[in-house]
């Protein structure tokens, strides 16, 4: 209940909250009375009350209009959130006129005190003030206020406190809940801008955003951006992208975030298994759209996004800089901040934008009035929303563009934007310095083909391409011919082709393919051209895939170990040539199997000695074990508590014992020892049978590690 009230209140303007607050102060009341205690136009109060009733925050009880119970507790946030700070009026209240007379007669100190109490929430601690005096007997201002019943005991709701009831506050504020009007939202400082410039700036930014996003994502498709472990984008990657796009880091972060929101990029593992950001398949679909629709996709994604790209690079609470695409980098208030900021801009007079300097602060104030209960970070959010909208081209020179207005109103901005975009051009101007300038956005097909044979040197509304030997060669690589190239530049250029360009093309074509590369597994070389010709012509050699690449060289796709026997079968006598050009004599090595490994058995004397040593040690070990087993009583283990007493007993009788012991590695072993002393939970003992002078034989054992003690006979 409380939560749902709070949430509903969050969606109210400061004016509406003030009306609701007045309703709480007034208690059960009528609309007329409500109007009388509010500093607002009656019509505003009437519509607001209707709205509040619709929201079920207020209702018409048989006794009159009243606020939903619970609303009073949820109204918080002070004056900025439309809360007057007055207490509800008391049921047995006095007449307003009478109250005003009493207050007017108060001495200055008492009045100041009363004003202070009302301003500070309407409650006060009585302290040493006496209660129940007559006004004549009051000695302090507080006692006087109590005596005049301007401060009342709090009763069971506020035990031990004094309360200034609502009617007293109203009387102090000349019968109204507030001293300022509540129904006038603060105005946003705006000024008229040239519509041509503003729209131009917006469209320019819009085309820029689309072009940059496309450029960046194409680049990422070839050179993926490494993702952080948190899936964010590292500072270095962001900087690289910003440099590539010739924009600031902040703008790059915005573009990346918007692309992610629009689903144009995603993460995947690269060939080394590291996560990288790359364009998604949606990007390919998006790329085929007309510019206006591309923009529309991005703009919608941005508008609904809770991401905070403007924070990228700033330090977070842990003093670490925020990275773009980090999941935590979002605020649920952001979409609303964007909506409110843009809606406010939409409400400005036609052709008006935010005033330079003062515009943004007043916009923040206005949004604060519209949604006063929002968190304190809101000024930042609104500032970012305005800045980001400018980068995206929703606004231009802080004026909401015509298509931006459609976007904010929930429509499809693409058709409006499409009419504003410059028409594509179908030609370029080619100059003697080997540049081709497209004086506007090129038709996609022409742009694609030009990209194959020339490098882009400068982006913008126009594009500058440069022909270089490398770029022309690239064109030849993908299948252009010299004639096609000449014809293409001639057709694309509106100006005569400069002679150096024709020369460049011919020059590159001349040297193109001077070196040829192919695949072969073996070669056949001979000074005797006739012999090679004969071999190629031999029908029996048809299966050898021989190809003559020079008068004296044949190549084959067969590996040499297949080719060689086949050639021998044909009766030619080939020799093998090594990579260093030296002839390898091809004598075939006879086949051999690997010899069996020689064994020790070859030397019977050594083997016998080794074997007898084995036998002796085995017998000794076995016998030692037998002796031990014989000495071990059938019920070997002593109970846990018995370990200590068994050890003490053994020390007393100076007898050897067998202890079961768990060492540091958790391995349980048994030792036959002669216990010497038990002290501080440790047993000191000598290994049984160790020579007396062997100092190492004396060891200590932790008693709690000893699991059992068995006397050894």
């Amino acid at each position: 209940m409380r939560n749902s009230i709070a949430r509903t209140l969050d969606g109210l303007t400061r004016g509406e909250l003030s009306v609701l607050d007045a309703l709480v102060v007034a208690g059960q009341t009528t609309e007329v009375e409500l109007i009388s205690i509010l500093r607002a136009e009656p019509s505003y109060v009437a519509t607001t009350v209707a709205h509040l009733v619709d929201l079920a925050l207020a209702w018409e009880s048989p006794e009159g209009l009243r606020a939903l119970s619970g609303v009073a507790d949820c109204l918080a946030g002070g004056n900025a959130a439309g809360v007057s700070g007055l207490r509800p009026r008391s049921p047995g209240r006095r007449d307003t006129v009478e109250l005003e007379t009493v207050i007017a007669a108060l001495p200055r100190e008492a009045r100041s005190l009363l004003e202070h109490v009302v301003a500070e929430g309407g409650t006060a601690k009585p302290g040493t003030a006496r209660i129940g005096l007559r006004p004549e007997d009051a000695e302090t201002p507080a006692e006087l206020l109590i005596a005049h019943r301007l401060l009342l005991p709090g009763g069971s709701l506020q035990p031990g406190l004094l309360v200034a009831p609502g009617e007293v506050g109203l009387a102090l504020r000349a019968g109204r809940t507030t001293t300022d009007p509540v129904d006038t939202p603060p105005t946003v400082a705006s000024e008229a801008r040239s519509p041509r410039l503003a729209l131009g700036a917006a469209v320019g930014a819009a085309t820029d955003v689309v072009r940059r996003t496309e450029t960046l994502l194409e680049w990422w498709g070839v050179r993926p951006a490494a993702a952080l472990r948190t899936t964010g984008l590292g500072v270095r990657e962001l900087k690289a992208s910003a440099t590539y796009l010739q924009v600031s880091d902040t703008v790059a972060a915005l573009l990346v975030e918007v692309a992610a929101e629009a689903g144009l990029i995603g993460t995947r593992a690269d060939s080394d298994g590291n996560p990288v950001w790359v364009p998604t398949t949606d990007f390919d679909r998006w790329r085929e759209l007309p510019t206006a629709e591309k923009w529309s996709t991005l703009a919608h994604a941005w508008l609904a996004s809770a991401r905070l790209p403007s924070l990228v690079g700033e330090r977070g609470p842990d003093q670490k800089p925020w990275n773009a695409l980090t999941p935590e980098l979002s605020s649920s208030g952001m979409p609303e901040a964007k909506q409110m900021a843009l809606a406010t801009l939409a409400g400005l007079p036609e052709g008006h934008g935010l005033a330079a300097g003062t515009g943004l602060p007043t916009l923040v104030t206005r949004v604060a009035w519209e949604r006063p209960r929002r968190p304190r970070t809101r000024p930042d959010l609104v500032g970012w929303a305005v800045a980001e909208a400018a980068v995206l081209g929703i606004t231009g020179a802080d004026v909401l563009s015509s298509y931006g207005r459609v976007l904010v109103e929930g429509g499809d901005p693409a058709p409006v934007l499409a009419t504003l975009l410059p028409a594509p051009v179908d030609h370029v101007l080619i100059q003697a310095d080997l540049t081709a300038v497209a004086p506007g956005p090129l038709e996609p097909d022409l742009a694609r083909r030009l990209n194959q044979v020339a490098d882009v040197e400068s982006h913008g509304a126009a594009t500058v391409y440069r022909f270089t030997p490398d770029s022309v060669r690239r064109g030849l690589d993908v299948g252009w011919t010299a004639a096609e190239l000449h014809a293409f530049v001639l057709a694309a250029s509106r100006t005569p082709i400069p002679q150096p360009l024709s020369y460049l093309i011919d020059d590159v074509v001349r040297s193109f393919g001077r070196l040829r590369v192919g695949v072969a597994s073996s070669f056949i070389r001979s000074e005797d051209e006739a012999a090679l010709a004969g071999l190629v012509g031999d029908p029996r050699a048809a299966g050898l895939n021989l190809q003559r690449i020079a008068p004296t060289v044949l190549v084959s796709t067969l590996p040499i170990d297949v080719l060689l026997p086949r050639l021998r079968d044909l009766g030619v006598a080939p020799v093998v040539e090594g990579p260093d050009g030296v002839v390898r004599v091809g004598a075939v090595e006879p086949l051999r199997a690997r010899s069996a490994r020689t064994r020790d058995g070859a030397d019977p004397a050594r083997a016998a000695a080794r074997q007898s040593a084995h036998v002796v040690s085995a017998v000794l070990t076995l016998r030692g074990g037998d002796a031990e087993a014989r000495s071990r009583p059938a019920s070997a283990s002593a109970p846990g508590g018995g370990v200590l007493s068994a050890l003490r007993e053994a020390i007393e009788r100076r007898g050897a014992v067998l202890i079961g012991f768990t060492d540091n590695q958790g391995v349980v072993s048994e030792r036959a020892v002669l216990p010497l002393s038990v002290e501080g939970g440790r047993l000191t003992a000598r290994d049984q049978g160790a020579p007396d002078d062997d100092l190492d034989a004396e060891r200590t054992y932790a008693v709690h590690r000893i699991s059992r003690v068995v006397p050894v006979a």
């Binding site: 980068v391 310095d433 500058v464 150096p500």
Partner: protein, 549 residues
Amino acid sequence: MQSDKSLLLEVDHPQAPECRKAIAPFAELERSPEHIHTYRLTPLGLWNARAAGHDAEQVVDTLLTYSRYSVPHALLVDVAETMARYGRLRLEKHPVHGLVLTSTDRPVLEEVLRAKKIAGMLGERLDPDSVAVHPSERGNLKQALLKLGWPAEDYAGYVDGEAHAIDLTEDGWELRTYQREAAESFWNGGSGVVVLPCGAGKTIVGAAAMAHARATTLILVTNTVSARQWKDELIKRTSLTADEIGEYSGTVKEIRPVTIATYQVITTKRKGVYPHLELFDARDWGLIVYDEVHLLPAPIFRMTANLQARRRIGLTATLVREDGREGDVFSLIGPKRYDAPWKDIEAQGWIAPADCIEVRVSLPDTSRMVYATSEPEERYRLAACTPEKIRVVRDLVARHQGQPTLVIGQYLDQLEELSVALDAPVITGATPVKERQRLFEAFRTGEVGLLVVSKVANFSIDLPSAEVAIQVSGSFGSRQEEAQRLGRLLRPGEPGPDGERKVARFYTIVSRDTVDADFAQNRQRFLAEQGYAYRIVDADDLDASADQV
């Protein structure tokens, strides 16, 4: 307007001249080929504009007015922000504390004060908005502030220097409009650089600037021959007499009211000190002229840093420095005060039009083999010095028989070979100055029709009669050198008997498929960007194309 801050200007558009005029103050002309000129917005350019009194609003308005497509908002913001950085800090004269750095924007001053590099140059903090500056650090401070991105505006003024009467004597000639404009904008701006193409009469702009200053003047030039030419020109164009002009070079050390010194002598270092530094203090100079600013050697920058109280004028054909120290020119000598595109001046007939032709020769097979197996550092020399070129040069010289021709090269033995093959005198660094002057004079008068010269002829040598230049080798791909060499040809000669002005021909002979061709491409690109039509022909086709040539 492109996102990389370049501006494309369609030359054939009816509004193009108007637009060019509007953007010239703040945008640097980067290339000017035939159809579309590229200008670029740089911080230096924008600050230059601020220094010349343009504000961001004008710039933004111009961009929006002339842009065919909408201008990205971010760029406009960037322009405004960059321009706003200029002049936040000012260097001023304070009646008590001498030189002070003041600011209208306290955070900027704080930021600057915290910069390590600057701390040592500043004195005590006078009040929250100003801080004292050691007068000797005026130049260094400006340099450092520019690097920080907060260029200071220098209001500290200049000393007048020792007065000396200098007037232009305009008998039989007069100052061209652009020369007058250049001198005046320099004078009004205080200090700065005038950019004019080779052959456009930069010396005369220098003389006009001196006539404005009417004070003792120190002129710094690249070499001795150029020093002599300055002297001759000054005697001819101004009221100065030979006695008033001194030469300070390796051979002569005269200090007169007007002294012409070479960079070389000033930067000579002995035992770690510059012995000729005293020259700067020898007189109370009222004006310092830097010829060919783009070649200004690094030590001179350091010396100039100490001369900030004197008026300085820089003259150059191009602000492009191969070492990228344009920023130092801006902060130490001053912002660009005047600039005129080559083509405009050419159109007015003040410099000759030029036809650039690249002739490609194929290396003979034997040479190709030697080339292919040679060390990389040897390759250029091998390619550039192929004997094939001599044959082509001989052909070309024969074709232009009767026209004054220069053959320019880099390698001395190649030049010697050419000299023998063409039977022409050769001038290299080893040729005595007297002999050089004699030969240049003979060339000027037409006595000698063909000269083979090394790179000594690159700079500031007035050979107005040259009509054909044949370049056989150069310093790798230097664009600057290309400009200078072309400049040799652009000094306009007298109109021919038929009233036609000469068309200069600039041949470059290049070995195909070698590094020579790669370097040539760099230089060609520069020429094409300057708007010169160039063609490439094969040496074998040279005869066939004779009709066109």
